[in-house]
Symmetry: C2
Subunit: 239 residues, 2 copies
């Protein structure tokens, strides 16, 4: 229906896995998860749905490839420099921001087990855990705990974005939730009501990092491990 004279009318470049995946990412970003359809994708690529199947095996692979593409640009360059604790924080924040910008990545992350993108995050976290001098036997646990926490937040963020109208303001949303919580049954939800107020001045990113710091404290605290940079996790208290 839309006029498509806007796009330069140069001869159609051949279809390629790369073009397909980048079109898929675009679709996911603009129309959301439910917008990624073989028909919509085919139309955008000016071809039929069947053509796509020559380059990718199916929708699952397409989603995995799209996730890969986004995560790739996120992970690189976040390593080293200011000591392992800072590196972990930076890495985690990178994943957090990527998912904030592409909520569907969060859902995909939480859905696919140990596929390539997640494994790469795990690897980078693990290296910093090693750098923290965590004993061998505990390294897996430490890296897993960090990764699982990140995945949990990722899934929640993705779910939240999906749940609200696309034009909803972030702080309006938090206000609405806080109000909802404050109206919960006083007996059944005493704690939740109690912390409802904190939601209003809640900063997603800060909150996320505070959780990372909590786990880092657990990792370094009990093992006596320390970052080479000597930085200590920030204390868990009101700033």
């Amino acid at each position: 229906m839309a006029t498509r004279t806007r796009r330069p009318e140069r001869r159609q470049e051949p279809l390629s896995r790369e073009r397909i995946v980048s079109a898929a990412v675009e679709l996911l970003d603009t129309v959301g998860e439910s917008g990624l359809t073989f028909r919509a994708l085919a139309e955008r690529l000016a071809t039929g749905p069947g053509a796509i199947y020559w380059h990718v095996a199916g929708k699952a692979e397409l989603l995995a490839a799209a996730t890969d593409a986004v995560v790739d640009t996120t992970i690189t360059g976040h390593d080293a420099d200011a000591g392992p604790q800072e590196a972990i924080r930076a890495l985690a924040l990178g994943v957090f921001e990527a998912i904030d910008a592409h909520p569907w990545v969060g859902a995909q992350f939480a859905r696919t087990p140990w596929q390539s993108p997640m494994l790469r995050v795990f690897e980078h976290i693990g290296r910093q855990v090693q750098a923290l001098r965590v004993p061998q036997a505990a390294q897996f646990t430490a890296a897993s705990a960090l990764l699982n926490y990140i995945l949990g937040v990722a899934g929640q963020n993705a779910a939240n974005v999906r749940a609200v109208r696309p034009d909803t303001d972030r702080s309006d949303f938090l206000d609405a939730v806080a109000t909802e919580w404050a109206e919960l049954d006083a007996d059944q939800y005493a704690f939740t009501r109690n912390v409802a107020g904190q939601l209003r001045k809640h900063d997603d990113e800060e909150e996320f990092l505070a959780g990372i710091d909590l786990i880092l404290t657990g990792i370094t605290g009990i093992t006596g491990a320390t970052g080479i940079g000597g930085a200590t996790a920030r204390p868990l208290s009101a700033d």
Copy 2:
């Protein structure tokens, strides 16, 4: 097609939200997420797909209700007794086991934002965090970190179960992954290769609790908070 003479032929009880939800849970448990279909559900209830819509608004609500039903039976009775740390461990383990038994709950958990079942888990965790004497301002962070970690593990577990053939043995699966990891590129995946061996003697439940303990250590360590029972989180070291 299947003979249905087996089921007692008593007169059809009237349809009810309760019957629908419990049939949905059964379907999800036996056939998996992709098996929950309005048509399949209708057949099981000996009615047409349209009838279901008179009792539930749609598939999303049906999934939420099914999750609610399972979580309900999980949360109750896990409180109090042996001090807040143990209570948190028991609560977390309860959620873990529920998701292990009903993998689709993990996916649903990771997908729905702050809906009733998750909020109830949050509430119960929060109460124990309070009991740990965590300062007011940090209670939200502490409870969130625990919940997000649980959700992360939940999502991963659900994804793993979904990824393997239904008859796959658990330790066969871990062995396969460990072998895969051991064959990764030595430069790109140095850490992952390094911990691959630990996967083989990996106990999901133990690993999960070790992560909980890590976070508990972070929570109690830095704030000086302690459980009333005086129990300390178990040290992060080879046992």
